[in-house]
């Protein structure tokens, strides 16, 4: 019931993507991560800090008229690894997707170590972070091998 009520806090969307079960307070980072924050053409609804049976409290993001790709969704795993994603078509859930980091995060974020070779953004090879553990999430730079601070990493989105 609580979840149903939360979903109605904002109008149901006709077409687009709903990202549910985002850890409380992380939805702004999600927008940033998906480059939605800068796209003024897309209507976005945001619900923050609502009660959740599963999580205590959570955030929800609804993006209208845009179906996020699997690659875009995989970026979500950096801040909301347990989020659930629904693609909405004609007011009904057409597809459910899962976030999936895989073994490596490629060209999504830049290594946080100030002396890493990838700090020179003119270097053309991809930014690569290896996933060394998923629970808790730990990442290491493929090049300098430094472990990454997740809070800092979110500021290094490419």
């Amino acid at each position: 019931m609580a979840d149903e009520h939360n979903m109605r806090r904002v109008t149901a969307i006709r077409n687009g993507t709903v990202i549910d079960h985002i850890p409380s307070g992380q939805s702004l980072k999600v927008l940033e991560l998906l480059n939605i924050a800068r796209d003024t053409s897309v209507p976005v609804s945001l619900v923050m800090n609502v009660p959740s049976k599963k999580m205590g409290s959570k955030d929800i993001v609804k993006v209208e008229d845009r179906e996020l790709t699997q690659t875009e969704l995989d970026r979500l795993a950096l801040v909301a690894p347990d989020s659930s994603i629904a693609i909405i078509r004609a007011y009904t859930v057409a597809e459910k997707l899962e976030v999936n980091l895989g073994k490596e995060v490629r060209n999504v974020v830049q290594c946080t170590f100030s002396n890493c070779i990838t700090q020179n953004l003119r270097e053309p090879l991809p930014h690569r972070l290896r996933v060394t553990s998923t629970d808790p999430l730990t990442l290491r730079c493929h090049y300098c091998q430094r472990p990454q601070d997740l809070d800092e990493l979110i500021h290094n989105l490419l």
Binding site: N115, C116, N120, E123, L125, Y143
Partner: protein, 314 residues
Amino acid sequence: MKGLITMDDLTNEDILSILDDAARLLPVARGKTYLPLLEGKILGNLFFEPSTRTRMSFETAMKRLGGDVVNLGDVKTSSVVKGETLFDTIQMVDGYTDIIAMRHPRQGAARYAQDAARVPILNGGDGAGHHPTQTMLDLFTILQSHGTLEGLTVVLAGDLRYGRTVHSLSHALVRFGCKLILSSPELLRMPTEIIADLREHGADVIETEDLLGNINDADVVYMTRIQKERFADEDEYTKVAGAYKLHDRDVANVKAEMIIMHPLPRVDEIHPSVDSTRHARYFEQAFNGVVARMALLCRLLNIEVPAEIHGGEA
């Protein structure tokens, strides 16, 4: 194995087999016999920051084996100063050479270069990262003295935070079941992620600020230089660095076969009085840079080192 970026690129079997090749190449390294195994091959020496021993020993190794060397030269006068990316520099040198030895101030540069290159890269030091060719000569020196790499007690002392030689060496030693005593000032402790990696390998690791209290049970004492610029002021440096020095009187009660090593250059971590003791190995260690790098060059260029090499006593 394509290149050698960290010690993880070598298995323990690879390490022992390359060190075995190195032992057979000793007469060639000493110039007692000429064995042009690498004739027609060219090494690209890319040193983006200063190096004496590593650069010269790579060059010597290549030339002793009949190969040739091209150098990047002074970074200040090369295309790097014009803003060339490492990727572009590597593309160019990759076309000129058969193998590249590289040192770079940025961590991860060697892995980056290997991803950009077709020829093998030998990491001669990347920032405070790794220095695996130094580790190979260190292991060769230990093996020469102790006849084994297994189960030794090794004290690593000095700057363990920024010292890339001890980062690579510690990884290798724990794989051979060595016990590590990490002796350093608080400010220069081994990075926590390296300690975590070592313990993940099941390593017996002790961290301490005490050096002299730990050397009597050691088989190897590996000293490194503490740099003044790591400290806020000179007084603090003098106070701290003073605790990580060895004098001949300090080694009076150590094991007879204990060896003292240092990647050099030393400043005053090892007093000259130690040089004439039976424990000093740092000059042999520096020489071993040639023979270890000869063996590595052959391995990475897929050139087999003959089972018997005549022409001089090893």
